[in-house]
Amino acid sequence: MARGNDNNGSGAFGGFGAEWQPSNLSRDEARRATDWVEAKIDKRALLTGKERKEDIRDAMWQLEKDGEILVHRVSDVHDPVMAKTLYGWDKKIPTNNLWHHKSCGQCGNIPGYPSSVLWLMNKTGVTYLDETDQTSCTAWNYHGSGIGNVVSLAAVFLRNFHQAYVSAKSQGLPEGTYYPLVHCGTSFGNYKEMRIFLMHSAELRAEVKKILGKLGRLVDGKLLIPEEIVHYSEWLHVMRDRIKQHQTIDVSNVRATVHPACHVYKMVPEDVIYDDTVLDGNRVAVTTGLLQTLGAQVIDYSTWYDCCGFGFRHIIGEREFTRSLPSTARSRSRLKRRGLM
């Protein structure tokens, strides 16, 4: 039966068109199709085999040279550790003097996430600031609803990162002492996307500059742009050996796998950490690298890049969409076969 009929005829709103049909492939045909996908789609080469490769940081340094922006650098005070991204480029990950840019989803509903990160920072002697002068990235108000727009998202991004830059002043420390560490995967993807738009569009920079000027959030009359946009999973990745030193529980009998968040690695894929020692460099390295270092049995599965159907608005107002997403069901059955569910 066509699944589009499952939704009282309003299939389009339910996420399915009425033309949705089962493929009815034979077992052999299905095997051939799956083999092709696993050989071609399921590898890092899917992303690296493309022609257009641009490191947006080149444009950023040029704009700074032209006197248009100022770059908040990851400097010695942040004890940076180098990591390699998708194309083998360096990414400087700050490990100390961090400004926690919190996640509304995590703080609101799964507070153990941020608490654990801060707990680990206390354990490893890292200095940080957790303050109230920050909003969320508000990307739900764009990707979820279309009510927001690129100018509002870019302004929110630079407002929050400016606050991170000036926050140390209240402690009598120089500006730039604290470097923003982004907790939320969506914020991470959204901010990186906004940085690209800002570097490419003089018109967007002019609009955002007007707004930030009004808020008193320019530095020497310029927009402040972060040298790196860093997610806490990247901090955990470069800290994994130091974290291991505090390990008290043996996890070698635990089988674990990671479903990397779409917004973390697909919105701006070129900035995501890959590591040849983690699943042969074919998967996003963060989190899996930490599990591996702690000694868990890391399990791979081929539909790692599939969407879970969370979809911003869908998980709130249209949860049947998420539940029924074929890729979610497919990933679950693969995980079940590997004894992970």
Partner: protein, 166 residues
């Protein structure tokens, strides 16, 4: 077509897979903006169940908050809904991060921060877009904004008075 653009989960798998580096998800986003700008019925209908999030994000700058998980909001959880019948006040106080001892927002948001956010909404046409899609929600958000701005003005005046006394 205008209905189908709301089915996209914005996961960007399409962009990752496309060998020609197109981003259908990005194009969908542009079409959604057009739908909102023109106040299309499909946009209004699809965003109705999302209004709690819109209210939260535009009025507080937080998109989700602990007190948004209620029995009324999650009827599809069935018997599992009893799990959210928790003493939230105490549970939140138990979190070892004082900035998170909150219920209305995911973390305590500075009043000045909220006021700065309202300036961004106004300057970028976000409030106009909200009014096009949901006039009632726009009215509620406007009231909240006015209230917080007054509160901020009062705080500034108090600070000035204290400075004068010193």
């Amino acid at each position: 077509m205008q209905e189908k653009i709301w089915a996209c989960a914005q996961c960007y798998t399409c962009a990752a897979r496309c060998p020609f580096e197109n981003s259908p998800g990005g194009l969908v986003m542009i079409m959604r903006e057009v739908a909102i700008k023109h106040g299309m019925e499909s946009a209004k209908e699809v965003l109705r169940p999302f209004s709690r999030v819109l209210l939260k994000v535009i009025s507080t700058g937080n998109q989700l908050a602990p007190n948004m998980i209620t029995k009324e909001a999650f009827p599809d959880w069935g018997p599992n809904v009893s799990r959210i019948d928790a003493p939230l006040n105490i549970l939140r106080k138990a979190i070892p991060m004082p900035t998170m001892h909150t219920l209305d927002t995911a973390w305590e948001v500075n009043l000045k921060t909220s006021v700065e956010l309202y300036t961004i909404w106004e300057a970028t046409g976000v409030l106009d877009q909200l009014e096009t899609v949901d006039e009632n929600l726009f009215d509620v958000v406007s009231d909240v904004m006015e209230e917080k701005r007054e509160e901020w003005e009062e705080w500034l005046e108090e600070q000035e008075d204290e400075d004068d006394e010193d």
